[in-house]
């Protein structure tokens, strides 16, 4: 196939040579014939014919053939280029790089390019659709998981609450039973107390009568004491009168003595009588004083009696009042006891009913508890299913991320964008940390973003604050550490294309994550480094 145009050209040349040989042979024959006498015009005519054939062959065979050969070579070259392009595009398609495929397809013939573009776009749209759906599925899965977890937690709490309520109800039932027993006892006691109250009321009535009798007697004593007091006062008046008479008598006796003295010797005997009278008056006075003293004592006793009887009367009145109050209280108490007995019976009955109801409630609650337990188990399974759904969505997402799409949700696209940006600064890593910091900030789903040089040595990295907070940076992550042995580095170095690694446990968070690694090329196309992004599997829906 490759030798075909050359062969065709040689064939055309060979035809010309063959004609020339044939002409020369014919010329030789004619020359010989002329020599042998053939006519000269024959030779001339032969030479003319030969020349005409040669010209004809050269004009109409050789030259077109030569042009055809050139055209054929051009077409072959084009075909080769097309094949190369198609091969490359297929290769890019094989690696899921729809962007590269599309870029390559623009160099294809229009119809082919259109067909490729349409196919790539359809595929891209499909992948994006799957990506979006996977995110939605994951979101739904997460929501279901969260709800299920919440419900499971709630049902656990409910179960605990039901257990508590059951215990309380059982306690209530026991208390109700105790209350029923107590109420019955109380009813009995109240009945006994009512009987005692009746007896007490009768006793109080008797006491009241007794106190009233005492009060009457005290009143009698008081009135007699009053009479005695009145009499004493009369006696005092009499004593005063006697005293006055005695005093008058005393003065009279003194005046008699004075008169006797004035009468001189004649009055001497009279003076003796006067003195006797004075002594008598004095004795009267002394007697009166004695009587008065006795009477004072007597009056004092009477006064004390009066005071005592008054106090006794007051006391008796107080006792009477208290006894009446006690009687009223006992009446009230009897009423209250009667009410208590009746109420206690009602309580006893009600608590017995309550106990039955409590037992039923406990029974129902146990059933509820079992239902809740079953529900919790179901929810746990549901939660597990949701978790699996989430994992499935992640798997789908990883599959879709294996495609490089012209989309903000395509990790490869994003990574390559940043890698391209970094590539323009190749060899100048001064601002690398800041740039990586920006990437980490822009991508909350990225745990860590880092760049290693072409030999695999870490040049710089940035840990997302959201994940770094409260966590110790693992010892294995540091500038200068060589990662040449890592699969992602080897894959990128080998294939010079963006790769997506399978899930693994993050050294930083301990959670599932996956790495997206992309080559950083210089403007000359040489590999200067590798950009790596560790994407947290729990946060991938933020992509």
């Amino acid at each position: 196939m490759e030798d075909e145009p050359t062969s065709t050209a040689s064939h055309a040349l060979f035809g010309l040579l063959l004609i020339a040989v044939l002409g020369l042979v014919g010329l030789a024959g004619l020359s010989a014939g002329q020599a042998h006498g053939a006519p000269g015009w024959l030779l001339d005519g032969y030479l003319a014919l030969g020349a005409g054939i040669l010209v004809h062959n050269a004009v109409f065979v050789y030259l077109p053939n030569r042009r055809l050969q050139k055209e054929l070579a051009r077409v072959r070259k084009q075909t080769d280029q097309l094949e190369e392009l198609l091969t490359q595009a297929s290769s890019q398609l094989q690696f899921g790089d729809l962007v590269a495929t599309l870029r390559l397809s623009t160099r294809l013939p229009r119809r082919l390019a259109d067909a490729f573009s349409a196919a790539s776009k359809s595929l891209g749209a499909l992948v994006q659709q799957i990506q979006t759906s996977s995110i939605e599925v994951a979101g739904a899965g997460n929501a279901v998981h969260a709800t299920a977890s919440e419900l499971a937690s709630g049902s656990s709490q409910q179960a605990a609450a039901v257990v508590e309520i059951t215990a309380t109800m059982e306690e209530l039932a026991r208390t109700a039973a105790q209350i029923a027993v107590n109420a019955a006892s109380q009813a009995e006691l109240a009945a006994q107390s009512e009987a005692s109250g009746n007896t007490g009321a009768a006793a109080v009535e008797q006491a009241l009568a007794g106190v009233e009798e005492v009060q009457k007697r005290i009143s009698g004593i008081a009135s007699r004491a009053d009479v005695l007091g009145t009499r004493s006062k009369e006696i005092y008046r009499v004593l005063d009168l006697i005293t006055e008479i005695a005093q008058e008598t005393h003065i009279l006796s003194l005046n008699a003595a004075i008169e006797a003295a004035a009468a001189g010797e004649h009055g001497r005997r009279f003076s003796v009588v006067a003195d006797e009278v004075r002594r008598l008056a004095q004795r009267s006075q002394e007697s009166v004083e004695s009587v008065r003293t006795l009477l004072d004592e007597f009056a004092g006793s009477i006064r004390a009696t009066v005071v005592s009887t008054e106090e006794g009367g007051k006391e008796a009145a107080g006792v009477l009042e208290r006894a009446r109050a006690a009687a009223a209280t006992i009446d009230d108490l009897r009423g209250a006891l009667s009410d208590t007995a009746r109420t206690a019976k009602e309580i006893s009955l009600a608590t017995q009913q309550q106990r039955t109801a409590s037992d039923q409630v406990v029974l129902t609650l146990k059933e509820v508890s079992q239902v809740i337990q079953r529900m919790a188990e179901g929810l746990k399974q549901f939660s597990g299913t949701a978790e699996r759904l989430n994992q499935l969505a992640l798997s789908i997402q990883l599959l879709t991320q294996s495609f490089h799409l012209e989309s903000a949700r395509s990790l490869k696209h994003l990574a390559e964008g940043w890698a391209e940006d970094l590539g323009t600064q190749s060899g100048h890593w001064g601002a690398l940390e800041g740039r990586l910091e920006e990437v980490a900030l822009a991508c909350p789903f990225v745990e860590m973003v880092y760049v290693v040089d072409a030999q695999g040595a870490m040049i710089g990295f940035s840990v997302n604050r959201e994940w770094a907070t409260g966590r110790q940076l693992p010892a294995g992550i540091a500038v200068g550490v060589n990662y040449a042995d890592r699969p992602w580095f080897q894959a990128v170095s080998r294939d010079r294309r963006t790769i997506l690694m399978p899930l693994y446990d993050s050294l930083l968070t301990g959670q599932k994550c996956f790495t997206v690694a992309t080559p950083i090329s210089s403007s000359a196309g040489a590999l200067v480094g590798v950009l790596g992004l560790d994407v947290n599997a729990r946060s991938w829906t933020k992509i």
């Binding site: 003065i251 003595a257 004035a262 003076s271 003195d275 004075r278």
Partner: protein
């Protein structure tokens, strides 16, 4: 009748004036009566209680306790007015003496009286109830 009777003994009326016992010669006593109602005389000295009526006659009444300078005693149960002769025998007049009590008639020997003249008080003499101030109303008349 108490105290030393005997030859030349003088009889006295023993009076209680506040806390002081006073012995008034019986010959100067005209009458003992229950305390007379007295009309105070405005502007009079402390010794003169006022005027009273005795037997239809006006009577200047003197406070015996004030006269002898006796401190006041307890409220008297039976106060008396002693109607007595005052002033010298030539021009004697009747006066009233208010005392807390008229106790008794006593006889005192002149020797028993220790002379200590001061106003109406002539001296002091012992009696059964204690020491008595012996009075002499003749001194009253002198201005």
């Amino acid at each position: 009748m108490t105290s030393g009777s005997g030859e030349g003994a003088v009889r006295y009326l023993l009076l209680q004036a506040g806390e002081v016992l006073c012995a008034l010669p019986l010959n100067q006593v005209r009458r003992i009566v229950r305390a007379l109602p007295v009309q105070p005389l405005p502007g009079a000295a402390a010794e003169l209680l006022g005027l009273a009526e005795f037997s239809g006659e006006p009577l200047p009444v003197l406070d015996l306790a004030a006269l002898v300078g006796a401190p006041p005693g307890a409220q008297p149960a039976f106060p008396v007015t002693v109607v007595a002769w005052a002033g010298p025998p030539a021009g004697r007049e009747v006066v009233g003496l208010t005392a807390d009590a008229a106790l008794e008639i006593v006889e005192l020997a002149p020797a028993a009286v220790v002379a200590a003249p001061a106003g109406v008080v002539a001296g002091e003499a012992p009696v059964a109830r204690g020491a008595a101030r012996v009075l002499n109303l003749e001194a009253l008349g002198a201005p």
